[in-house]
Symmetry: C2
Amino acid sequence: MGLVKLNDLPQLQIADGVVARVVTAESVSVMHVQISAGSPIPEHSHHHEQVVNVIEGVLELTVNGVKHNLTPGKVMVLEPNVVHSSKAVTDCRVVDVFQPVREDFRGTSFAGYSQKD
Amino acid sequence: MGLVKLNDLPQLQIADGVVARVVTAESVSVMHVQISAGSPIPEHSHHHEQVVNVIEGVLELTVNGVKHNLTPGKVMVLEPNVVHSSKAVTDCRVVDVFQPVREDFRGTSFAGYSQKD
């Protein structure tokens, strides 16, 4: 797909205070996320492997009930179907990698995390 | 594999002025790269899909002979086997995503880009 300008992609509202632009390649989705301080993402799971890369800020990520404070330099690898949630301690900039592609992120809106897939 | 501290990973010398820490998940490799201004990565190709995310700086990326100046907000998706090279216009911080896993990045050193794979 070549060159992608993030601002040309739809801005997805992932949760209150959580907005993202998602680059959908052939085999992976790369999500550029901005999270406002204090904003939570509720507990959820999905069949994709996920790699969470905090670029700026502090993100409290809870994995199987265990809290981790992610900062730049700490990367979380989430196995498929693991239950996780997060809360931004500060404003955060995050790059999330998913494999396989997140089909639910292809559109112009996101249905939300009320259900597990 | 859970939580990974980048500083606990081997620092790979990708080229002169190009150092990286690579998170090897099950299905993808996520490479956190620091490139010094002026440093080139020679022309090469590989069978992995690659997504180039410039976090800071300006990276001149040449794809099939066409030059692109990547800055934060511009993401390049490279199809498998496409020939590419780069030169850092400024100091750069880059997150590269590869699928499948880069087996050649698993070790404590990197053999270099003198050969195509």
